[in-house]
Structures are given as structure tokens and as C-alpha cells.
Symmetry: C2
Subunit: 347 residues, 2 copies
């Protein structure tokens, strides 16, 4: 919707002085034809997908729900698609990118926080001893996140994320993190939007982290990003009101939390869900349990050469119970090595 | 955006068999011209507004932010408008409509809950002794809300709200509650959408209550409704997963909570905010404190004959501190009696 709308809007100034010549009417007609052709359109935009089962299953689903008169037809208002972010839209190895941001920011802030030296977890993080941080489990990660992600205003935090996104490079690929988004998934987002789906991110990562780059990178506006949150407080200061980020977890958008967050933020059950790990299992179950047609898809990381190969034993993005469930329920499995001609954007 | 998009989509089947004749190209051209005319369009749709200051201030603001090249121009992506619901989009007297739903539902459920007789507040509610409920303050109202709004699944709750909306009548006007929405505000929602605003409700009421009727009544989809929430839990049952509503307040979307919820759900600062009570003060302050142009508007209930007249002393929808702030800051005040030719829809 946004895309179609943007096409029309961008023509605004041109039309202001237009006399309706043959050239303009042809342009207008072709634009409307592109916008109004039914059923499913834009399949050719899935250019980085090989013609394997996963592509066929996705396209067949989209064709079924967009064919008027079909028993599987779904009104555009109900065409909600949800995507996990880490490992589904962009890479997540060797550690979640947001955790790298947290570690980098921790170091940048450390001089102002001598008290951090007293915490074994924070001291380990500052000494680049990541195994010691991870050995403390979720509690350790949470401590690093809270120290690095809170205590400032929402505006200050967004600026810090934006600066990191602009400057940091991935250790293996030596490219900015936002270039490690999956080209085939960008095409899939476009394909779904062309077919009047409303696309949401439902991420275990921080909502305010993902929102900084999601409009430019995915074409997904902030209000369509759902994720984990810390509590914030409204404060009236001398130079105006601010929202202060508090060191208290508000909501963890993972596992059982994902359907809960979908209910809270979206308020409708999705008809399509895309994930890659056990953290997405309940989101896929919730989507697949709807009354009408549904599509549940897992990205399976099978390409050690171009990306990474991991599933049941991985510390990051473990795919175990959800893989069993996918086999049992006949969910769509994307085999990265087999199904994608290109992995990353602009390769 | 949704509206423009819908126009195009509805043409779908027609275009399937189209040969590009002169008639079609004319239609296509005129549609595009309507969609692309800039600046501000649709002012004539504010048909129930008299030509007073409040209408002029709203239209001038919309014209300024939609005029390309103007120093006050705002990109469509940033055109976020937020509306309170109770007292701003629909009436709220003699008690909040959702509280009436709670009281009605409490009575319907009472036979299954003999233990409610032991609670002074619930016993009072069941005996129609509303003053006793209100005398217990927010704690009393919360107890009534929790008893009547939780313990079931989200689907069951939505069905209960829908059934009440379809059957209950307002005591004074003897009309369904959803007919007590303000016609001028419906026109305003349309006007803003015609000018590429994204319109959100930010209500002190329950998010899952408002979402049941907001698509049909306001043209606002569930994901653009923000409100108060109870906690929910994902549960896998024999016949599939459900979300269970728990008797625990998750978030109260009122006063300082409104900017917090805007940050959480919308993730961008609005440029226009509409409210009617002290519960909206911080939302208007937050909106007005943005870097660019902004519009802060209060609906002032001044019409005892057609609706109600109340402000500083009212128990419901008290407008006191926000009225002072509006005068101090030069915010726009809608004087219901003076500014509106019609109050309710279909009058």
C-alpha cells in the first residue's frame, strides 16, 4: 500500500501543470493497470529465488488468498504478514547484531561509569570476554543490554543507534550490518506489499533499535515494528518533555511473548508468519491456527559458505523444536543454500 | 493512504478485461489527478464545521504542512495524528461507555461468580449503586473492569464486546453507543487521511474494546488503536493456541502514559493531537514539543442541549489543567456549541 501510494504521490508536482496529452494518459493508464491487476502480481520480483518448493508454496498461497471468488480469498484488511528480524530478515552470527551494538556502546560509556567494574558480567564485557558474558545466560545478556540501552532519552538512544549503524562493520564480511539483510527476503516483502499485505516485524530484539533502520532498509515504518521494550517515563524538563529509558525490562518479545505482542500491537491474527528459530515457534503456531488459510515459513540456515549453517545446536538462533514442528505440520522450509541465488543485498 | 489505495484496488476486476479506450483513459487520468493534487485537499468535506477559528486553524495547519517547498512542509511519512476517543471522537456521559459495558457484563456473568457478592465494590455494581463504585475511586473502577474484562480468551472477549455494541442503547439518546460519535470529527479524520496523515487513536479506554468497532465506525484499523491493556498469556490448549486475558493491569494509557504509549506503539512523535480532558494534557504537550510544526486541539464540551456542557468540575472527562495550558499556549479550542452545525452522526 505504501509503495503504490508513494508512486502516485511522487507524481504530484508533475501533475500540477499537466494538460492531458496522449503521453500522460498512457502513463496514467499503465500505472493504474500495474496497480490494479488481480490476482497475485509481482511474482517476477522474486528474482533471487530459485524455482524450488519454498518459492512455489509462497506464491501459491499468495495467489489463493488474493483471487476474488476463491474459497481461500482473504480481504486486504486481513492480509497481515509478520516477520522475525534476526536470522530471518538479516543475519545473526556470530552474535546478534544488537548485542554487538550493546558491547560497543558499553565501552564508549564506560569512562562515565566506574561502578561497572564491580559487576563480573560488565567487567567481562568490557574486557571482550564474551564467553563469560554468555555463561551468565539471559541474566548476563540482560545486564549488558540494560547498562548500554537505558539511562538516556528516547531521542538520545535513537541517535546512538543511528551513529553505530552508520559506522560499525561486521567482523566477517567487513560491511555495514544493514547490508547483511537477505536480498530474497527484501523481494518477498515487496511481493507481499504488492499484493496488499500489511507487513510487520515481530522481533525478539529491541523495538527502538530496529525502528531506527527499518524504514530505510525494509520499507517498514516504525509503527509496524514490534519488539522487546524497556520501560520509559514521561518527564517534563525545563526545555520541554522527554521520554526517559529506564533500566527495567518492560516486555520480552520472544517465544510465547510473540503471539502476546501480536495481540497487543496488531490486534489481528496474521495469515502469514516468517521466522527461523525456536523463538518464532509460538508465532507460527498462532498464525497457523487461524480459521482461514495461513502460511508458516522457516528460514533454514544451510549455507556455511555464503552465510552460516546452523540449527539444533546453535547458541544463537537455535532451530530445534520449531524444525520438528515444521516437519510435522508441513510448514514451508526455506533452504538458504538451495533456494536462494543471492544471499545478501547488492552482492 | 488506505483510502487512495482502496479506490485503486476496487477497480481491479474492471481492469482485468479492459481494452484501453478513451473512456478508460479519461477515468484513469481523473483518478490520478484527484489523488495527486497538492496542497491540502478535501477541506470541503468538513461540512459540519462552521467557519470559525477552530476550523480555520486546523485547515491552515494542514495546508502549511502539505505545501511542498513551504518551510513548514512535513513529509507524508511524518504526518502522524493522534486522537483521544472518549469525549473526543464519541461521547462519554453520563459514564464512560466502556464502564457501562463493564457493568452490563458483570450482571451477565454474576450467576457464575457467587464470590463477587463478598466484594463491596462488585456487590454495589451489581445493585446498580454506581455512586458507591465511584466512591472507591480508581481502585473501584479497576475492580469492576478486571472482573468483567478478564478470565476469557481474546476471541471470547471480542465477541462479548461486539454483542454489546450491537444490542445496548444509550440511556439519554436511546440509540446504539456507536451512533454517538461526533460527525464533525469523522469528517476531520477523513480530511486528515485525504492529506496523507496516518491517524491513530490513543485512548485511556481498553485497547481490545475500542478495536472491535474502530474499523467500521472510524475507518481506523486495529493496529492504529492504542489504549490501556491487561496482561495476556499464550496457552496451548487441546484445540489449539489461545491468548488468555489475565486480571492484571498491563498498562494504563492515560496522562503521562499517553506519550509513553505513543513511543511504544507508534515510535514517532505526532504532529497533531486531539483530546478533550486532563488525561490528554501530556499527549498534547508531547506533540506540541516537536521540532517542526504542530497542532494541539481540545474539544470543549459546551453544548448542554445537543450533548453535554462540562469541564473543570466534571467527574468524567475533567478539563481543568489542560484548559489552562491551552489558553497559555494558544492551542486550538473547539467550542462544540459554536463550531459544530451537527454533533452526532446521521442527525
Amino acid at each position: 500500500m505504501l509503495d503504490a501510494d508513494r508512486e502516485v504521490r511522487d507524481l504530484g508536482p508533475m501533475w500540477k501543470t499537466t494538460i492531458c496529452t496522449r503521453r500522460w494518459t498512457l502513463l496514467a493508464t499503465s500505472l493504474l493497470l500495474v496497480a490494479a491487476t488481480n490476482p497475485a502480481r509481482g511474482g517476477e520480483s522474486l528474482a533471487s529465488w530459485r524455482d524450488t518448493d519454498s518459492k512455489k508454496q509462497i506464491m501459491e498461497f499468495v495467489e489463493r488468498v488474493t483471487t476474488p471468488g476463491s474459497s481461500a480469498y482473504v480481504e486486504p484488511a486481513e492480509r497481515i504478514a509478520v516477520f522475525d528480524n534476526d536470522g530471518t530478515l538479516w543475519a545473526e552470527q556470530p552474535i546478534y547484531f544488537q548485542l554487538q551494538f550493546a558491547l560497543d556502546r558499553l565501552k564508549a560509556l564506560a569512562p562515565e561509569h566506574p561502578e561497572w567494574a564491580k559487576s563480573p558480567v560488565l567487567a567481562a564485557a568490557l574486557a571482550d570476554d564474551l564467553p563469560a558474558v554468555l555463561a551468565a545466560g539471559n541474566r548476563g545478556i540482560l545486564e549488558v543490554i540494560m547498562a548500554s540501552h537505558t539511562g538516556n532519552t528516547t531521542q538520545e538512544f535513537e541517535a546512538a543507534v543511528a551513529a553505530w549503524i552508520d559506522s560499525a562493520n561486521h567482523p566477517r564480511f567487513e560491511r555495514p550490518y544493514v547490508e547483511l539483510v537477505y536480498q530474497p527476503m527484501l523481494e518477498l516483502l515487496d511481493y507481499l506489499r504488492q499484493n496488499d499485505f500489511r507487513v510487520f516485524i515481530v522481533s525478539g530484539g529491541g523495538i527502538d533499535f530496529v525502528r531506527v533502520f527499518s524504514p530505510a532498509v525494509y520499507g517498514i515504518p516504525p509503527e509496524r515494528v514490534v519488539g522487546s521494550t524497556v520501560k520509559t517515563r514521561f518527564e517534563m524538563r525545563e526545555d520541554g518533555p522527554v521520554l526517559v529509558r529506564l533500566p527495567e525490562l518492560d516486555f520480552l518479545d520472544d517465544k510465547e511473548g510473540k503471539p502476546v505482542a501480536i495481540g497487543r500491537y496488531i490486534g489481528r491474527r496474521p495469515i502469514a508468519a516468517f521466522g527461523n528459530s525456536d523463538g518464532d515457534l509460538q508465532m507460527l503456531q498462532w498464525t497457523a491456527a487461524g480459521d482461514g488459510p495461513s502460511l508458516a515459513v522457516l528460514v533454514h540456515h544451510t549455507d556455511a559458505e555464503r552465510e552460516w549453517a546452523y540449527d539444533r545446536e546453535s547458541k544463537i538462533g537455535r532451530l530445534d523444536a520449531a524444525l520438528d514442528e515444521a516437519e510435522k505440520r508441513g510448514w514451508t522450509l526455506i533452504d538458504m543454500k538451495r533456494d536462494w541465488t543471492t544471499v545478501f543485498k547488492d552482492e
